[in-house]
Amino acid sequence: MTVGDWKEPEGEKFALGTVEEQARWQAEYHRLVRDTVERERAGRGTDVDVDLRTIGMRIPRNDALYKVRGRARYAGNIEMEGMLYGRFVRSQYPHARILKIDISKAETAPGVKGILTAAEIPDDRLLVGPISDDTPILARDKVRFAGEPIVAIVAETEQQAEAACLLVEVDYEPLETVITPEQALAEGTVRIDPEDGNVITDLHHSQGDIEIGFTEADIILENDFETEPIDHCFLETPAGVAFVDSDDVLTVLVCTQYPHYHHKQLARVTGRPMERVRVVQTVVGGAFGGKMDNTVECASALLTLKTGRPVKIVFTREEVFTATTKRHAMKIHQRLGATKDGRITALDVRNLFDGGAYRSYSMICSGRCVIHAGMPYRIPNLRVRHTAVFTNHAPSGAMRSFGVVKVAFAMECQLNELADKLGMSPIEIRRINGLVDGDHTSTGQTLTDVGLLKSLDAIEPIYEQRQKDLAGQSNGTRRRGLGIACLGYGIGYSGVRNPSTARVRAEADGTVTAFCGTPDIGTGSDTSLAMVAAESAGIAVDRIRVVSGDSTKTDDSGPTSASRTTYFSGNAAHIAGQDFKQQFETAVANKLHAPREEVRLQEDSVIARNERMTFEEACRLIGDEIDGIGGYGKFDPDIAVNILTFEGNPYPTYVFATHLVEIEVDTELGTTDLLKAWCAHDAGTIVNPTGAEGQIEGGVAMGVGQALWERVVRQDGYIMNPHYRDYLLPGAKDVTQEIESIFVDTHDRTGPYGAKGVAEVSLIPIPAAMASAVADAVDARPSHLPMDAEYMLGLLNGNGA
């Protein structure tokens, strides 16, 4: 591929494959979808709401054809003529002043074509970040974590760039290293950040009167919980290709959750006008919140501008571990008060986040942890204090649930202990306290369409049956246990408007393209959005191609994160589809000189004056004027929260779930196995059951990892296990196949066809449910994640955490 010939027609999705491949496989996809639709229709019978022709079908993903052929375009697969390859020189110290950077030996090393240091980046362009611009593209005077990039080098081969990096000499003056949040907050500790010292954010929120709440309580549980840092472990390491195209547009092809963010950032960092920048999302090999920060984007862009040649940078796995964001290590101190009949009267929470060296998404995660403290329960008297601090660790950022998995770990463990102490079942205690329609959240939001109790209803009979089945089965060193945990999770950004848009257009040959702002990061959202747009437009789903993830072809609709794509972009696609349908019908009516109301586009054909024509025929009839038809949808719910008082409506809707897990503990070794999981979700209407189940099953697997093994091991500011050999991810034998996804019958009045979303949330209850199942099995209460075997053995032997 060359810089000149990479461009593709407007309606093609670059990431999927070449134009020829797309043409070839589109027909195959049509057949596949048609077969699926026919099969599903036959199986549905007649009792289905006729208005839902596509929603709810198991439509295969439109990108899987490329993926099973090994032809999907991940950024690392892209080669261009004249391409250079980049590598970084990274800090050897967790905290140090940079005294001198000597690149002279590297400059003359074989193959080296360009070297970038912070010295040549102007002050106002050096700092970047998703929320605050605080992270240098390359460190200039000081490094704040081991692994921080200092110099970027491009060469004719990756090996040459790597070799040249070893020739760069950096003189450091080591500084005191801050490795725990407590140390960061202690008086006299060195200040990591010039502006804020060591505090990233310190949030307070209260509702009711906490003292009165505890006075009313008959029982108070006070416990500490701790979780370790986690890595996203998306299998595709960050990778990107930057070049200037033949129209002088700086183009970055990169695996990201948010192309428009990089677009704006690159315009600022390069000083280019917005229209001379383009960011195209390549196929993303997993993200989970870890592909929303700058990694390769800025350095590759600056180096392509500097050298005039395409630049590709691909992170190694070790770089991912040492230099990309992590899930926050967190400490939670919780006091929970309740009456003896099980009613929660007060909750007092103190959270401490290890935010690492820069802000990244710490602020967002912190806000979410505050808003979700006590979710999904009625807490009349609540007090939360949440502090996130700087340390000399790799920055902590966004990861699946933005911290709520840890909040839920504490809350659900507390609630289960409360149930035990009061002699109640974990179901009952949740029925008493669980949120229902008309309840208010701690921010004062009134809830509607809350399916929490329905999810409890779905789990209850299974729980009771398994309790009977297991009675007396635990023996010797093998102990079985059951655990329940719930979740409540707000969809979308926390208290900040985050609109999504979509456009739907047709071509004369009957092809329809939906341009959607949020990219598909591997979840299958493009397919769900195609289904929604098709349903709303009244056309067949296989007709629709989704173009997403291109900063110049779609509007900024925020990132694919926070479980927001089905709901936000789904609503946008719904509105755009309806708009398209209206315009299309009008165009046909005009051509036929028929009354507007006598023309209807439905089930992929047009009925006009009682005559039916195919969609293609209608497109031909409309002719050139079809270019004038552009369905547009914007979904921008009115949400806002005051970050000082935490009053307001932070999210347009909430999803809920109840999970039940069955585990077995080997009490002699301390090991735990997940045997079964039942996951009942209120996700609203399910757009694509296959996709929704896939999200849940994946969430369970990730939850097992976080519950039992996953931990980034740090020592004195260095990561000791930057590889899969010592960072243990669950494999097929470690994740049960007995995962049952249950979708309770709920309908969100504000969602597209009643949908809310699933995505990241399926992870949230798993560690808590597993911890509670452990408590059920062995009569010891874990308060630490991961519950690795040695920790568990200590707990069983009464050594505590």
């Binding site: 099973v68 052929r69 690392g76 299998l235 090999g285 989970f288 896939g694 994946g698 494999g731």
Partner: protein, 152 residues
Amino acid sequence: MTVDVTLNVNGRPHSLSVEPTETVVGILRERLGLTGTHKDCSMGVCGACTVLLDDRPVSSCLLLAPQADGREIRTVEGLERDGRLSPLQQAFLTHGAVQCGYCTPGFLMTATALLEENPKPTRSEIVEAIKGNLCRCTGYKKIIEAVESVTG
């Protein structure tokens, strides 16, 4: 020094001059343009780079090119027959076994070898075969179901 080797990839011989320390994953991706074989951990743990060497799965990140000299290598690009997906590829599509897709070629190669050797594996034999391939998205269930669906 360089070594002259012939790698038979998907039935086609490629004569190459290689450094002895070059790995097959690098050659496939960088010299033969076969980027369907993915690269991640470079220590044989993740399975993303799985190829078949004389019909058996191996980590191509740990396979030095001279060691593959004269031997048959099969990659995900070689699974189609006459432009048609193999039944296993088709099953991955329809069972939702593909999410981000980065691990998919490795799973396809591992399961292809299993099915060629044992066309009717039990579920536990399937799990045993894929136990060393990591997937961060799917939770494995749909992958296992997809393989199971083509066992006849």
